[in-house]
């Protein structure tokens, strides 16, 4: 057992309001530079939708992630030693700027400086690459809130899992629903980006598992962009270096939450330490298709187990980190309650960002009624207009989950590699907590029903209460349990960084500029 610590994240999708505050916070700190304008280390997508870059989930196009071969070993799909070096002069799977969008600004000065004339002056969009006026065709959140559904939502690669009839049902106007999917780098345990880098510039930090690109060693072979199935490694076209989310490690080392998490309006984000067994990474990453999620979650160790603690101490994991692991909100969501799942585990990079799948659109259904029917409905149901029924009934315990507006298959395609049972579980738990709380606060549900649902999902009343607390009331310190960085021991962190503010990376004495 090789116990290591990983700073991991949980995003509670039920709570995301799609405000993009996280993206803007990140942009302002890290990617407000030439060559990085198009990079959104944190982006928020509307699902169903094609996302950013367009159709990133479709690995037939982008060739990201790992592939399991017959013998059970895994290979990078579009990179690796042979493929990477053979394609080094031209990488056929590299997304180009059009796949993201051409960064642009507006010629605001024209509004002030235009000479007097008959027409109102306008601020035309200009490309941030060439400086020339362009027709803006695409933006990082062009498909927000199902805008342009025929082009975006209907081309969501996850719809492949559904039958044509199910697909049509999803896009009926009355049944339309969507949710937001905020994404950052997953700081994977088996990162494709690290494995694909010919220069060896990308590495995982042993102490906290953050995956970083050493800007000095990166030589623009751009294989990481292909190999990351989440498209979270970006090529800076100006500096000739690749860049990615660094989980705000300078903030973490100072005890602050990453900027996207700190600023999150919906308070959907949780951050904490998970202990994992590094010896089993390879086996988990090469698990057969159906078992990959379980193998992944099995890597995560119980921080209260004496053997785990002893092994961690032998490995040099500081006691303070162990303590953080025991208080970790991510451990609670992922392991203790089993409510959070990795995004696209079938890419086999073992992502360490987990999502609580969204329940919200499932809770209510809208049906047309003949006004008279109202009288016969159970007391919890509400009417919307005279003929439309907005039904939030919780009487049907799990029926609402199976008849969700998002077919379970769709969520399974996102969060469990197609395993519907695996996504149904967290959804049922979310529902159970609601039923429990409704019994407690509104009181229109039978106590026996509550006990039944809790028993069915394996939650105790205490844990339901704890889920409720961490979901709805959690304070800053509950949501972000950041292990002390031990700056006194970590020399890298002692380097003075004030002189390189506003530039790229840390620890430089040289101005990070483009070469000749």
């Amino acid at each position: 057992m090789d116990v290591r610590a990983q700073i991991s994240m949980v995003f509670h999708l039920d709570k995301c309001i799609g405000c993009h505050t996280c993206s803007v916070a990140c942009k302002n700190i890290w990617t407000d530079r030439k060559g990085a304008e198009y990079q959104w280390w944190n982006n928020v997508e509307t699902k169903p939708g094609t996302g950013y870059p367009g159709k990133w989930e479709d690995q037939e196009i982008y060739k990201g992630g790992w592939e399991r071969e017959g013998a059970g070993s895994i290979q990078l799909k579009g990179a690796g030693k042979a493929k990477g070096l053979a394609n080094i002069f031209h990488n056929p799977h590299l997304p180009s700027v059009e796949d993201y969008y051409e960064p642009f600004t507006y010629n605001y000065l024209n509004l002030i400086e235009a000479p007097p004339g008959d027409d109102q002056p306008t601020a035309r969009p200009v490309s941030l690459i060439t400086g020339k006026p362009i027709d803006v065709k695409m933006g990082p959140n062009w498909d927000d809130d199902l805008g342009g559904s025929p082009d975006y939502a209907r081309n969501d690669p996850n719809l492949e899992a559904l039958t044509p009839a199910e697909r049509e049902a999803m896009f009926q106007l009355e049944r339309m629903a969507f949710f937001y999917l905020p994404r950052i780098c997953n700081h994977c345990l088996n990162p494709g980006c690290v494995a694909s880098c010919p220069s060896g510039a990308i590495y995982k930090r042993g102490e906290d598992g953050i995956v970083l690109i050493n800007q000095k060693v990166c030589r623009a072979w751009r294989m990481c962009v292909t190999a990351c199935p989440y498209k979270k490694s970006y090529y800076n076209w100006h500096s000739g270096k690749s860049e990615k989310c660094l989980l705000c490690y300078p903030r973490l080392e100072a005890g602050h939450a990453p900027a996207c998490m700190h600023s999150c309006v919906g308070r959907i984000r949780y951050l904490g330490v998970l202990l994992y067994d590094a010896d089993r990474i390879q086996r988990a990453a090469s698990a057969p298709d159906g078992e990959i999620t379980r193998a992944h979650l099995d890597l995560i160790l119980d921080p209260f187990d004496d053997q785990v603690i002893a092994a961690a101490q032998r490995n040099g994991v500081p006691d303070s980190t162990l303590k953080s692991a025991q208080n970790s909100p991510t451990y609670k969501f992922v392991k203790q309650w089993g409510m959070a799942l990795p995004l696209h585990p079938e890419f086999r990079t073992l992502p360490m960002l987990f999502y609580v799948p969204p329940l919200l659109p499932v809770m209510a259904s809208v049906t047309q009624t003949d006004g008279a029917q109202k009288e016969r409905l159970n007391p919890i149901a509400k009417t919307w207009t005279d003929d439309w029924l907005y039904d939030t009934s919780t009487e049907e315990l799990w029926g609402t989950i199976e008849q969700a507006r998002f077919p379970l298959k769709y969520l399974a395609s996102l969060f469990s590699g197609g395993d519907e049972k695996a996504v149904a579980q967290p959804l049922k738990k979310l529902m159970a907590v609601r039923i429990y709380r409704r019994w407690k606060t509104v009181g229109d549900i039978d106590e026996s029903r509550v006990d039944e649902v809790l028993k069915d999902t394996g939650l105790s009343r205490d844990s339901a209460e704890a889920v409720y607390y961490l979901t709805a009331l959690a304070k800053f310190q509950d949501r972000f349990v950041i292990p002390p960085a031990h700056r006194e021991q970590a020399l890298e962190m002692l380097e003075f960084t004030g002189d390189t503010r506003g530039s790229q990376g840390f620890g430089f004495l040289e101005r990070p500029e483009r070469g000749a």
Binding site: I88, S199, Y203, G206, R219, A220, V317, A490, L491, E513
Partner: protein
């Protein structure tokens, strides 16, 4: 006369200095992200072509006797010459493509430095001369091995023997001079990415984990861990 030495010194000192002072800037500076389709038809023929052509020159320089022995059979000589010329042509096609792309793609122009154009034009001249020489002054592989290789070795031995070279046609002299010029400005161009070609990728494990400090040592009061540098910077 002194040019080869100036070139060699500039190459060595320039490269070391560049790497030490501005190591950050050593990058292949790929522009594929901005334009990928035309790049394929230019970059691939150029790179594979120049790898073969450069290797050919290197072999003729290092083991001239081997080349001469191979060339003793006319069929083999012809095969060698034609292969070399074909790869030279591939370099030319690639270079023309690269230069045209650089000048006509608005996005790629934005990331073009004057030095990029200088080096591309020098390489173009060099390739054009090489192809002309290969065609007009046969058989290059033999006379290179017989006459130029000794000249280059005399340079290495710090005892330049230029008689053979000064008797050669002007195009060949120009080719040689241009070669030294390219070497001389090498450190100041994007060509430096050749020196960081990632062969070490082949013999490293796929995953890389770096510890800021030695976890075992740090817990032991006996080790002077504080004297060690972090390994990731």
């Amino acid at each position: 006369m002194a040019l080869p030495y100036v070139a060699a010194i500039l190459f060595l000192v320039g490269t070391i200095q560049r790497y030490r002072a501005t190591g950050f800037k050593v990058s292949s500076l790929s522009s594929q992200f901005l334009e990928g389709r035309r790049l394929f038809w230019a970059s691939v023929p150029f790179h594979f072509g120049i790898l073969v052509v450069f290797a050919g020159h290197l072999v003729a320089f290092l083991v001239p006797s081997g080349i001469l022995a191979w060339n003793s059979n006319p069929v083999r000589l012809l095969v060698l010459q034609i292969t070399a010329w074909a790869f030279g042509l591939s370099v030319l096609v690639g270079l023309v493509g690269l230069l045209a792309r650089r000048l006509t793609e608005p996005r790629v122009r934005m990331v073009t430095t004057p030095m990029d154009l200088v080096i591309e034009i020098l390489l173009l001249v060099q390739t054009g001369l090489g192809l002309y020489i290969g065609y007009a002054h046969r058989w290059g592989s033999s006379w290179f091995a017989a006459d130029l290789s000794p000249y280059l070795w005399s340079l290495v031995k710090l005892d330049p023997q230029i008689t053979a070279v000064s008797a050669m046609p002007h195009v060949i002299q120009l080719h040689i001079v241009n070669a030294f010029v390219i070497f001389a400005i090498f450190p100041f161009t994007r060509l430096v990415h050749i020196l960081v070609a990632p062969f070490h990728y082949l013999n490293r494990p796929y995953q890389r984990v770096i510890w800021n400090w030695d976890r075992a040592a740090i817990r032991s009061p006996k080790t002077a861990w504080s004297a060690t540098r972090p390994r990731n910077n």
